[in-house]
């Protein structure tokens, strides 16, 4: 069982012998490739048996079915109404019809080929020698010495000056290759006087030094009366493009608390040096950007006064400075200092005092 075969076994035959059948020549090739056919037998008794005809017929039917379905795919692809229309229309079935016709066409073709291979072709069992042995020690030695000789020829060992010169010559080239990629892509996140991580669209800088209004998505400003008690509204900085992804850190949740909740919230906020005085009446505004991974923490549970982030389920308690009470978030949601301008619209008294958005290394 464990005999190791090397090279060809068996007796060679003269392939030019006219008496040899084609299979004899194939077997001579197998012998040269160190392959032995152990069994090689048809599935059927005798040629053209009833069973064989049946299999051939079935395979032919599968090929025809494949052609039929593929043709159907082409026809439906061309004639079926495909343009999207509102409501229930025939075009709803366009994609399913394409899938079913092409899928069945391919499956029928696949099964036809598989049946041909598995049922019609003779079943065989062949054994090939693996020849997975490593190279001989001699070969290894020769190759190794050849490689060493290459190094000798270059003479790097003998010429230390060249060694140093190569290192000094190649290193700058390697750096030069990397430079455009790194240099082109790198952006200093700290380059602005107020780095991007620390400011939002509510920064008065964005509005010529004036306080920024809280606006709806369409840019309209908001009066306190616009939000009913217990209600909430997503607000954006009232500056050009304020409601777009240019200010992806700015979306804010404006909440009109019920009186008792407002009292709890104010007590908690006033006890905190940074959130002190940030509420306006019974209104409080928190950043909507989760401090964990930056998803909008937008599910507001009115009953428990919790904000839930649907991405990783961090939960923040609104009545307690939006401290995280469950989930992977570590930091509270920053509170936006609220006030009202002379026209009676909400404005941000200043930018957020805490850093908005997900955490990072150098956040103080």
């Amino acid at each position: 069982m464990t005999a190791v075969h090397h090279g060809e076994t068996g007796t060679p035959v003269d392939v030019n012998d006219p008496h040899l059948t084609r299979f004899d020549i194939v077997k001579e090739g197998l012998r040269r490739d160190d392959i032995e056919i152990v069994t090689y037998e048809s599935h059927f008794h005798g040629q053209n048996s009833k069973a064989e005809k049946r299999v051939v017929r079935n395979i032919a039917i599968l090929f025809l079915l494949s052609g039929l379905f593929t043709l159907a795919f082409l026809v439906f692809y061309i004639v079926w109404p495909w343009e999207f229309e509102l409501g229930h229309t025939l075009s709803d079935y366009y994609t399913p019809i394409l899938g079913v016709t092409l899928g069945l066409g391919l499956l029928a073709l696949g099964f036809a080929i598989l049946a041909w291979a598995k049922k019609l072709l003779p079943h065989e069992l062949s054994i090939q020698q693996r020849h997975g042995d490593p190279s001989s020690d001699e070969e290894r030695l020769i190759t190794g010495q050849t490689m060493m000789y290459v190094a000798d020829e270059l003479g790097v060992q003998r010429r230390p000056l060249l060694k140093g010169a190569i290192a000094l010559g190649a290193a700058p080239l390697g750096l030069a290759v990397a430079a455009p990629l790194v240099g082109g892509m790198i952006e200093d996140p700290h380059k602005d006087p107020e780095p991007m991580m620390y400011r939002t669209g509510f920064n008065p800088v964005k509005n010529g030094g004036n306080p920024v209004r809280l606006t709806r998505e369409d840019g309209s400003p908001i009066r306190p009366d616009d939000v009913s008690a217990g209600g909430q509204m997503t607000v954006y900085p009232g500056i050009p493009h304020g409601a777009t992804n240019h200010y992806a850190d700015s979306p804010t949740l404006l909440i009109h608390l019920r009186a008792d909740d407002a009292a709890t919230t104010r007590a908690a906020a006033d006890a905190d040096p940074r959130n002190k005085g940030s509420m306006y009446g019974n209104y409080v505004a928190y950043s909507k950007i989760c401090t964990h991974a930056g998803c909008p923490a937008s599910l507001y549970e009115q009953q428990t006064n919790r904000l839930l982030c649907p991405c990783h389920q961090s939960q923040f308690l609104i009545t307690d400075n939006a401290q995280p009470v469950f989930g992977p978030a570590t930091r509270r949601l920053p509170m936006l200092p609220l006030t009202v301008d002379e026209e009676g619209f909400f404005v941000a008294a200043s930018d957020y005092k805490d850093t908005v958005g997900p955490d990072f290394w150098e956040r103080p």
Partner: protein, 536 residues
Amino acid sequence: MKRRKMDLAEAPRNFAKGVDDRFQAATPLRGLLNKVFPDHWSFLLGEIALFSFIVLLLSGVFLTLFFDPSMKEVAYDGEYLALKGTMMSAAYESSLHISFEVRGGLFMRQMHHWAALLFMASIIVHMARVFFTGAFRKPREINWVIGVLLFLLGFFAGFTGYSLPDDGLSGTGLRIASAIMLTLPVIGTWLSAAIFGGEFPGELIIGRFYIAHVLLIPGILLALIAAHLGIVFKQKHTQWPGPLRTNENVVGERMFPRYAMKQGGFFMAVFGVIALMAGMFQINPIWLFGPYRAAEVSSASQPDFYVMFMDGLVRLMPNWQIYIPIGNGYSIPPMFWPAVVGLGALFTLPMAYPWLEARKLKDKRSHHLLERPRDNPERVGIGMMAMTFFLVATLSGANDVIADKFHISLNAMTWAGRIGLLILPPLAYYISVRICLGLQQHDRQVLAHGVETGIIKRLPNGQFVEIHQPLGPVDDHGHPIPLEYAGWAVPKKMNRIGALAPAIKGFFYPVEKPAEAPVSPAVAASTKREEIKSGR
């Protein structure tokens, strides 16, 4: 000058001669035609991945003809009325265009997505096959490493791919990716700013992901797949132990024609299944999600299944933040551990496993015969531990959906995941090791005593014994001579050793006379059949 007449019958011969004159192709071609491949259904799992990849290339090229990788803001003016007039990126608009206004575009989009899911799923199952049967052992460690890299690249190909439509869901995924980059100590903000070209989301990311998704990643994938297959070809496939099979040979069938035909047919079948799924099962209906807006997200925001384990780990991580009180203070956010360290460990540990196992077993031999999982209980235990960890993490990636559908508290789901992630893997290790040992023991028992016949015999003293059919020769007292375990399936039922006549073929009537029932070697040895005696 007489013009030579073209002899059509000689044309193929002349052509072959010309090819061999130039490339000396005859001998290597014969070697290829004759190459023997071992056959087993479990060897086809990797093929599914390969075929899905071909479907991915074909459908992907189609999509690039219509996709516009630009984040320029445009107002939607297409057929889908619900979004009419909405401001969106050109990438999202062109994705909607492919879905609604390109003939067969939605079909191709869904085919691409389903093929991607099948690609990743079959890689996972294929890797499990390779792992549990020990096919990664010397000399195949490098191919195992390439396989892990292929999964990693598939992971990034998938992530960059489903980010491209720039819909509400994929934008949320990008936001989380940016947050993950931010968690890196020291370079976090620099990395995120470099990738996004400034502040998130910027206007470059879709274009950058596009070139990564259609050129860089598929290019490396193609090169690694070619290396993967080339190594399989060079080293020859592993095979299960069994009659005639040794560590030095390959028992199977020649590549041409039967084996190659079966591969071709299987490709068509895989392609057909993907086409059926693409037509019938909706996937990623981006028009329902709307364009990405930083303020909007819907509940049940899940990544594709092969990224869910990471999302799950991020959800389960407790909110442990490390503060370093130097200067202004520095911090390492909790997401750093599951998303960066966890992902890194999940890919480097499997890569090192072949060498770790060989070192532990002090095994430097080359293995071409597979090992039945039961014969290496520890490996199975470790593998099941990893699979259980992956499964708990993946399920936790959908814990909000599970909580919603089964009316379980969301917080309870999170806690169940946290505890499960720590307790279930060791439990899986213990259970699977015990199962392996039990199976081993049963194999040895049958080899020693024979197969249970189900025939109960009463002895003169009133004792009942079950009669066992010995698998090999018996000694003078009729007791079976214990057989040695050969690393391969042991027949455990009488039917397996020819107690049942072969099934008669044909649906309505028998097609052929049923063949003679095969006779087990043990019975064949003694031509005279005798009364079955107890094996004890």
